[in-house]
Amino acid sequence: MSLKIVVLAKQVPDTRNVGKDAMKEDGTINRAALPAIFNPEDLNALEQALRLKDAHPGSTVTILTMGPGRAADIVREGLFRGADTGYLLTDRAFAGADTLATSYAIAMAIRKIKDYDIILGGRQAIDGDTAQVGPQVAEKLGLTQITYAEEILKVENNRITVKRHIDGGIETVEGPLPIVLTVNGSAAPCRPRNAKLVQKYKYAKTATEQKEEGLAFPELYEKGYLSIPELSVSCVNGDLAQCGLSGSPTKVKAIQNIVFQSKESKALTGSDDDVEELVVELLDNHTIG
C-alpha cells in the first residue's frame, strides 16, 4: 500500500555543545551564539519515513515545520534528503506558544494537509526536551500514538508494527493507521543529502523569501515544486485564542542561570607518585577499601 507520511520537524538552537559565550552576563541565552539546526531526533523520524517510502512505492513524505521565516531551511533540508514536499507553518500569532498551543497549530495544519496515514516526529526537541508535542498532536487529531519508537517493522492491512523502547526493556506493539509515532535518537540515523536533490531543490523558497531575496531565475518557479507553501493561522482555520501566548496554559515565571558551588580542588599530575599518594589517602580515609 502506498502511504501518505507527514514528518514534523523543528528548527532548534544547538544546545548540545554550549560554549562559554552562549550565556549572557545577565544569565539569559545568547541565541546568536548557538547555531540553528534540524532537531536531531526529527532526523531519525525522517529516516523512518524515507524507509517506508522505499518499501512502499508511491508513498509521499511531507515535511511540516513551525517557526519563523528562517525555518524554511528545515523544509529544504528535508527535500535534500528525500522528502517530496514541505510546509512552513509561520505566523506572528504563534509566537510564545507552549507545547499545547504548538500542538494545536500543528494539528490544524495537518487537518489542512488532510491526507495522512502516518505522522512521524522525533521523540523530543533538544531546546525543550518535553516530548509533549507528539502525543498532544495525536490527541487533538483523535489518533492513537506510539512513542519512543526504535524501528517500524512493517505496515500492512492498515496496521503498523513498531519496536519501541520502554523503561528497562523493549516491546513490540501493533496499532491502526492513521497514527502518530515519535522516534528515538537511538533509531537509525538519517541518510545524508542526495546531491541530485540538492541540485533540484537548492532554490526552493517560500513566497516571503522569493519576495525578499528576489528571483535569479523567475521562470523556474512556474513549475511549482520550488515554492515552499507558507501556512498562517487563517490558512489553517486556526482560532487565535488557542494560538501562541494566549493559547498557552503554562507561563514561565522565572529563569535562573545555573551556578555551581565551586570547590578548592587539589591539582595532581598523572605521575606514579601523585596517583599512588591519592590512592593511599583514599584508602586511609576509607573512601575506598
Binding site: 528497562g168 507561563k251 587539589k266 598523572g270
Partner: protein, 339 residues
C-alpha cells in the same frame, strides 16, 4: 474535590520507585495546601495494592483493575485519567517523567487543556502576581525544571487552568513512609464507566523487561566516563577499575550519544541523578546537565587532560592526564596498597 493526585506507575504488581517518591512529595505539598492526597492505580491483579500505597499518607486510592489494563497502552489509561479528573477536579496531578508518564501526561493534558510541565526536578508552592492583568494568585504549583539543554532552570506555573500537571524525574525526590498504618479509603472503580473497547486499539505483541544488571543509583562508588574516554574499548578500563573498587560505571550524555556506553548508565538531567560517596569523572568536560546529576557526590575526582574542563571547578581532586594513562595506574596502586 480539588485534591492532589498522583498517577502510580505499576510494573506487574509493584508500584515504581518514582511513584513512591511522588507520593512522599505529594503528601508534603498536600499538607501545605491543606488538601487530601489521592492516588490512582491502573493495572491487572491489583488486589492488595493499597498496602504499597497508603503508608505514604494517601487519603484516597482509586483502583482500576482489569486484565487489559496491563501492560500500559496510551488510550485506556488516558481515558481513565481524563474522566476521573473531570469528575474529581484535582488542583494538581503528578506523574513520573518515565516512558509511560511522558506518553500519558501530554495526552491527558491536551484533552483537559490543562498545561503540563515535563521533567521537573523540584516542586514548590507559592504565590504569583500577574502585573499586566492585575491578578494575584495564591498557592500555585511552581514547576521547576532544567531547560535549554540543562543550561538554565525555569520555573513554570499554570495560573488559570486545572489540574496543574507535572511529570517529575526519577531519583530527584526522596521517598519516605509516613505511617505504616495510615488509614486511607480504597475505591474500586467500574472500568466500563471509563474505558470503551475502542480504546484498546494498540496491542502489545511482545515485551522484554530486563532487570537492570547494575545498580548505578545505589552504588557508593561511581566511575563515570565522558566523550574524552575516546572509545567503547577504552570504557573497559573504567569497568576494570569499577570491579576493583566494587563500584559501578556511569556515563555522560556525550559518551552515550557516541555509543561508548548504554543509555541506562547515563548520569545527568536526562539520565539518573546520583549521590555516591566517591565519583571519579574520567574524560568528562562537565556540561551543566551532567553536573546537575552528580554534584551532590561526597567526593569528586576528575581525570582530564584539559586543565580548564568545567567539571574541575567542582572536583576535590583534579588529575591532569589521560584516561588511558591514569586509570590503569589507579588500579595498579589500589592493588598494591589495599592488601
Amino acid at each position: 474535590m480539588n485534591n492532589l493526585f498522583v498517577y502510580l506507575e505499576i510494573e506487574e504488581q509493584t508500584v515504581a520507585e518514582v511513584s513512591q517518591e511522588l507520593l512522599t512529595k505529594g503528601r508534603s505539598l498536600a499538607n501545605q495546601l491543606n488538601c487530601q492526597l489521592e492516588a490512582i492505580a491502573i493495572g491487572s491483579n491489583l488486589a492488595g495494592i493499597e498496602s504499597q500505597v497508603l503508608p505514604y499518607g494517601v487519603d484516597k486510592l482509586h483502583v482500576f483493575d482489569a486484565p487489559d489494563l496491563y501492560p500500559y497502552t496510551s488510550l485506556p489509561h488516558t481515558a481513565i485519567l481524563v474522566k476521573l479528573f473531570e469528575e474529581e477536579k484535582p488542583q494538581i496531578a503528578l506523574m513520573g517523567a518515565t516512558v509511560i508518564g511522558r506518553d500519558l501526561g501530554p495526552r491527558v493534558s491536551s484533552a483537559l487543556i490543562s498545561g503540563l510541565t515535563a521533567d521537573c526536578t523540584s516542586l514548590e508552592i507559592g504565590p504569583h502576581e500577574d502585573k499586566k492583568q492585575g491578578k494575584t494568585y495564591e498557592n500555585l504549583l511552581y514547576q521547576i525544571r532544567p531547560a535549554f539543554g540543562g543550561n538554565i532552570v525555569a520555573t513554570i506555573i499554570n495560573p488559570d487552568n486545572r489540574p496543574q500537571m507535572a511529570t517529575v524525574r526519577e531519583g530527584v525526590m526522596k521517598k519516605e513512609i509516613l505511617d505504616p498504618n495510615y488509614k486511607g479509603e480504597v475505591i474500586q472503580h467500574k472500568i466500563g464507566d471509563y474505558v470503551t473497547d475502542a480504546d484498546f486499539v494498540v496491542k502489545v505483541i511482545e515485551r522484554h523487561i530486563q532487570k537492570a544488571d547494575h545498580n548505578l543509583k545505589g552504588s557508593p562508588i561511581i566511575i563515570a566516563g565522558g566523550y574524552g574516554v575516546g572509545s567503547k574499548e577504552n570504557f573497559q578500563l573504567l569497568f576494570n577499575l569499577a570491579k576493583e573498587l566494587h563500584g559501578e560505571v556511569g556515563a555522560s550524555r556525550a559518551a552515550v550519544d557516541a555509543g561508548f556506553a548504554d543509555h541506562d548508565r547515563q548520569i545527568g538531567q536526562t539520565g539518573v541523578t546520583v549521590r555516591p560517596k566517591l565519583y571519579i569523572a574520567c574524560g568528562i568536560s562537565g556540561q551543566i546537565q551532567h553536573i546537575a546529576g552528580m554534584q551532590e557526590s561526597s567526593m569528586i575526582i576528575s581525570i582530564n587532560n584539559d586543565p580548564n574542563a568545567p567539571i574541575n571547578t567542582i572536583a576535590d581532586y583534579v588529575i591532569n592526564g589521560t584516561v588511558e594513562e591514569v586509570v590503569p595506574k589507579l588500579i595498579k596502586f589500589y592493588k598494591k596498597n589495599s592488601k
